[in-house]
Symmetry: C2
Subunit: 238 residues, 2 copies
């Protein structure tokens, strides 16, 4: 196994930045479980693997790193013993009818959790506004727990996308109808807004059915990943 | 306004550790919104305030800090201009009937989000097993968005507590009945388990009604804060 060189360390570290991920069309995946899953299910996506354990071998270009080098390339507080550099490949969705649209989600942890939740509830496709955090950000990848590789996710001009859609456009808004009384079916585009500001004014105009989660206590708001989970659950429960 | 001394910096930094928070019965609250809310609603809890802005004045012992000193005492990536040292004071609950029990939640972000969610759905009290992350951990305080000050939260031997409870004990378990078909009312103790391992064996035995959130897609699991939100929503929707 080849030892991880300083140049390779520099190259992998550079992928922490979106502009480098975009130009190289590569991103970083960490953790034994996710790397193993990739090797098993999406082998063709792997550019190379870095391991701190020389007994682990793959049919891929694999570099041996000491704990210190792994620490340099890892975004985790406690670096794992496996890391992979993976190819970005857009997944096309066919005939998506249950779509989650994200309008400016900023926090990578929230974004990853939203993808994981969307995957649990069988969302066909996730559409992101251009100012939504990059799904290949290392923290998003980590929090998504592999869901990133399963759901089609696309970035676009959300206003344009929604304007053209034939599906009902639902939006989570404070002024909306209670999701407990509104009858919903598992078809449509559900728009969730930014952590601090909710759905932007421009997108709000396109929402056909406003929905909201009733409050029984005193919190000012719900975390957006939690709210997404509750809304998707309501659409799924039938 | 007195300038924040090196000794005070050291003292505030020491409150990042649970053992020091426990012995001093003090913890740190950051951010303009939360500090202002504390000043307005729980003024008696404030030990002192640290500000980087000398134009902000309070009826409390206030220290002026430069941006660098604030950075030293802050747990935030982007330190805010206000920080308060706050007294720990247990809140007693009376006649709690809608209780959330946490069995070993580890992640501070999840914990804070769970408190915020419990507060949204009007949970009367949160009971935590002793191995659940400390609610006065700076990251929990931050993610709870003030809910920490509104809900009674108590740590105890969870097994003993549940054994003595007269309320129905619900547990979120993979083997449980679908929350969409099981009729639930807003009364009982709802147990949510650890991020990786779920509810511990010891506590599982005390669960009277197992419930689970049906899966429609491929995620292996839901984030525990999202799952808590969905379960609390089901209990609340009536």
């Amino acid at each position: 196994m080849e030892t991880l060189s300083k140049n390779k360390i520099k190259w992998i570290r550079s992928l922490r930045m979106k502009k480098n991920r975009d130009s190289e069309q590569l991103f970083i995946v960490e953790g034994e479980k996710m790397v193993q899953e990739l090797v098993n299910n999406h082998s063709d996506l792997i550019e190379c693997v870095v391991s701190t354990d020389k007994t682990i071998s793959f049919n891929h270009s694999t570099f041996l790193a000491d704990v210190q080098s792994m620490g340099q390339i890892s975004s985790l507080k406690t670096p794992n013993r496996l890391l992979a550099v993976v190819k970005i490949r857009p997944k096309k969705s066919k005939n998506a009818k249950f779509i989650l649209a994200l309008d400016g989600i900023q926090d990578p942890g929230n974004m990853g959790t939203i993808l994981r939740t969307a995957d649990w509830f069988g969302v066909d496709e996730v559409i992101c506004s251009k100012n939504t955090v990059d799904i290949h950000n290392p923290k998003v990848v980590q929090a998504s727990m592999g869901s990133l590789f399963r759901i089609p996710i696309n970035y676009c001009n959300l206003h344009e996308y929604l304007s053209k859609s034939d599906l009902t456009i639902y939006g989570a808004l404070l002024t909306g109808e209670s999701i407990y009384t509104k009858t919903v079916q598992k078809e449509g585009v559900i728009v969730m807004g930014n952590e601090g500001n909710g759905i932007s004014e421009e997108i709000k105009e396109l929402v056909q059915t406003s929905i909201h989660i009733p409050r029984f206590g005193e919190s000012e708001s719900l975390n957006v990943a939690v709210a997404t989970g509750i809304v998707l659950s309501e659409f799924s429960r039938g």
